[in-house]
Symmetry: C2
Subunit: 464 residues, 2 copies
């Protein structure tokens, strides 16, 4: 929801809101309802435990819930609606903006949906039916239909008159979309042009052609990226006949981009599945568990490969047990550098900084970084061994220089291969049309653990 | 820059732009200048290698550069300016919007700054002097002064007249800020209220009190979060006397939030320092190296602790070498789960979902997740050992059940301690007022590597 600034809400300290909510005093909550911005109430709810949240929701009057419902998780709204009378339910659902309403209807599932749709006023029923056609993550599933549209044949004055009656229902009035008889998008007029124009100026003279629009079935992330790249206030959403269906506003773009960044961060760290509408504390333990266990179990079995390498090198390991001092370091250095380059590449792709034609250039860059990083690290550690390691720790029969060489060379080789592996895996994922972020850092770490011990023991066999 | 939609730019395919730029044909670049949105040109430049970029910049006419300069890295603009005539330099610098100009002046450094300031038209010189007072990452350092302001004593009609002359210089006209005689912020009027009001309505009747504003010295991230939370179009920036200094617009908020997410992702993966204005491919190898080497070297030395644990358990390791098969798994499971919980907690804090008073609740949640995750994983792997491991691999003298117990219990304990460690470290960082994201996942991984081998070998000594 845009244009919330007209309200008399103040910035209230989150702790104060939490206090008022958890008191469950109707008077304090009423006072909150009049002063606090629902955006702050949303954040306060995110910080309240599941158990308490249910009790607080239980005491919210319909009037208050209808103001806050746009900002609460649909599951919470649904829970509270269950204990309300029919007129109260109507009030709350009628107060939802159309994009949040659709979010809510998508969330409650197909079974319960008709029961809620039935409670809607007629025009909302039509709007939600239109919006529900589009999958949740598409531009169509995210748009609002509360935009300003005018036919092309008007004068500036007529346009202002036409908009006057609806001006408070429109989310964003700065862009007024001009449509032809078939509801096709012709372009837009800026409110500033209308406001400052001579009253009889034809709309056609003020019209800006609309070069930026998005198909209703395109990914919502694409819409958000366009809004960010072109600094748009609103991006019109059209069907394949260029008919105007709705708009995605600047504040939706902010939300979408935040969601996508969170998704990237979580995927990179090996957390699966969707975050949904719930904040960290709002998410039940079993959902957290479900999102984490898959990767953890899979990687545990992948870790057996590293163990197998150790098992196979029993004789060299036992003969030169001093190798154990540097084994974790060599292995981990690969994980660390591999995760670094994977992260750099994944984020660059998310930000649109890399396309398929740049892949060669990425590999070339990471190759140089890997060689430098590996040889620098190898050199530093070899020096540490040569000059700082107590001589007494080295078993008879091998020289300290030999140990320094094995560790230094193994580190160099391990860092180089891991840097390249870390960069290549997300590039490869993109080529086979997977999200590059599925290549979680822990997966790279576990993978290069194997190569790390292989490199280390092979070099030891060779040089000791 | 907002409100760019009035231009006649189209969405041009990035590959097409790259082609045209790398051709270095003046005609093709001129054509691009007329059709392509500078936001797309920016993205194309991000994908072009350093070597080529210099040559392309070399052929850009002043007229083109002045259009694109808001979207190019300051270093690139500076490079091209060096080879331009004085009038051309004036044209380019005069074309920069005030926030980008300040960015540029901050980037070139104090030494070169006067030489560029001297080339500015008088009003820009004043504006940039005002803006340069504020550090780069503050609200003041990020704001624009190109906002609409009117005194409170006007009528709607007078206000429209006053704004008419400046309307194309204002970044965002939807919010018109009302100030008193001392330039103090009284509130704002929405353009829609002005446009639809009777001509003689006093501004006072249309005024919305401004409850949301930010101090010029506050962190830019706080400004962006307010814009996101309250769905604002523009957030006024004030000094400590509530005098209006400038505004941060919705599109700045998008940029700031993207930068902060990138910073979080990079820090979590152990990449240090600031990304700066340069995209991945634009950043020279030595800067990439500098950002990565610090953590990698530090962690290598930290990895010695794990090696020391191995070295100390020589006898048990050699006696039961079968332990090596599961050592990497036990150790890595800790790293994976620790990184997961650190990431969840860091991101939740970035999104404002957790405050200091919720820390106990976080620990309680991660404790339950850790116990379940650990015992589930331990059980799965113990079962694998009990029923799937070839009996021949087990040395004489110990039973398969013993091995299964050691590995299963070690996994459980390791996952539990790592989950808690991963959650506690960022919480602790926040308490001592550090950015929680400084607790990089590789650091957690390396740290719990130590506890992992300790747990594993202690259990082995106890049970075998």
């Amino acid at each position: 929801m845009s244009d919330d600034e007209q309200s008399s809400h103040e910035q209230v300290d989150i702790e104060t809101i939490i206090d008022a909510l958890t008191s469950r005093s109707p008077n304090r909550i009423q006072a909150l309802y009049r002063t606090a911005h629902p955006g702050d109430v949303e954040q306060a709810f995110e910080r309240i435990g599941e158990d308490q949240r249910e009790e607080i929701l239980g005491v919210l009057p319909a009037e208050v819930l209808s103001e806050w419902a746009d900002y609460l998780p649909p599951a919470d709204v649904e829970m509270r609606l269950g204990s309300m009378s029919r007129p109260e339910q109507k009030e709350v659902l009628g107060g939802l903006s159309d994009d949040e309403l659709v979010d809510f209807l998508q969330e409650v599932g197909e079974e319960d949906r008709p029961k809620f749709i039935e409670l809607l006023p007629k025009e909302k029923r039509q709007a939600s039916a239109n919006l529900l056609q589009y999958p949740e993550n598409t531009a169509g599933g995210r748009m609002t239909m509360a935009m300003a549209t005018i036919p092309e044949k008007l004068s500036a004055n007529e346009a202002l008159e036409a908009l006057k009656g609806v001006k408070e229902e429109i989310e964003l009035l700065s862009r007024i979309f001009v449509i032809d008889n078939h509801h096709r998008l012709m372009g837009h007029v800026r409110l500033r042009d209308l406001a400052f124009a001579e009253r009889d100026t034809p709309i056609g003279n003020l019209l800006h052609q609309n070069h930026f629009s998005i198909d209703a079935l395109a990914d919502q992330e694409e819409a958000a990226n366009m809004i960010a790249r072109y600094d748009l206030l609103a991006l019109p959403v059209v069907d394949d006949g260029n008919r105007l269906l709705g708009v995605i506003t600047h504040d939706d773009a902010v939300e979408i981009l935040e969601e996508e960044s969170t998704e990237d961060i979580e995927k990179i760290s090996g957390i699966g599945g969707d975050r949904g509408d719930l904040a960290y504390l709002q998410t039940p333990v079993w959902i957290h568990l479900r999102r984490r266990f898959g990767w953890v179990l899979g990687l545990a079995f992948l870790g057996l490969a590293s163990g197998w390498v150790l098992l196979q090198h029993e004789s060299v390991f036992k003969a030169y047990y001093i190798l154990s001092l540097y084994l974790p370091m060599v292995v981990a250095a690969g994980g660390n550098t591999g995760a670094q380059s994977a992260t750099m590449v994944i984020r660059a792709m998310s930000l649109g900084e890399l396309g398929p034609s740049e892949f060669g250039r990425v590999v070339w860059k990471e190759l140089r970084i890997g060689i430098l990083l590996g040889s620098l690290l190898g050199f530093c550690i070899a020096m540490q061994i040569q000059f700082l390691l107590p001589k007494t720790i080295i078993p008879e029969g091998i020289g300290i220089f030999q140990v320094a060489s094995v560790v230094g060379l193994a580190l160099t080789a391990q860092v180089l291969t891991s840097t390249i592996t870390g960069a290549l895996l997300p590039l490869f994922a993109r080529i086979v049309r997977l999200d590059p972020a599925v290549v979680a850092s822990p997966a790279i770490t576990t993978l290069v653990d194997v190569s790390g011990s292989l490199i280390y023991f092979s070099l030891a066999q060779l040089l000791l």
